[in-house]
Amino acid sequence: MVKPTRVTNSLRDLRFAHGRLTQADLADRIGVTRQTVIAIEQGRYSPSLEMAFQIARVFGVPLEDVFQYPEETP
């Protein structure tokens, strides 16, 4: 449950790049609470694939511009 996720995200940068969109604005756009946006941004919650796509759509970018997964080291 508390195993840290390896997924990282660029939510904060994207919010600032899109006219300083607030966490509350983003939350309204994707239909979640502001606290959930904060949890995603801080890596404390991994959203569902559907929510991830909704977030990417708000910023008009591909999913991998929002969420990243590190390459496996050989």
């Binding site: 449950m1 508390v2 195993k3 840290p4 996720t5 239909g31 979640v32 609470t33 502001r34 606290q35 959930t36 949890a39 890596g43 404390r44 919650y45 991994s46 959203p47 569902s48 929510m51």
Partner: protein, 150 residues
Amino acid sequence: MMSTLFYLDEVTHEEKRAWILGIAATASYAVYLVVVLGRAGGRPPAEVPYVATLLWTVGASIVASIVLSILAAVISKDGGKDQRDQEIGRFGEHIGHSVVIIGAVAALLLAMAEAPHFWIANAVYLAFTLSAILDSTARIFAYRRGFQPW
């Protein structure tokens, strides 16, 4: 006071409910124990009257939880339940459910052993209380420390 208000604004309604349910369950069980054990004197516990106290403390706990949840929602103008709340809620219920099963098995064994009703009722009440506390603790932990359902 300000930090409390700040905290109220920073957590979701469902996290506040987890706190309220956990505290109400703990407080009501503590009151029950104090009253029943206080009555015991030198008697064996199974002879102590407990039914009315048990019903009153359970009733008070339910009423207090409902009233405090409504108050918290009104004061901090909380939003609804989102996907994360639902997932964390299910996780908490899953954790709490295991204790209810342990309590049911304990009650079954006590009944088969023809133990006094006092012990059977108290095994079930303890299981419900521990279940509520574990459920709330797991939810709060998931909200505070992080929750990765995948």
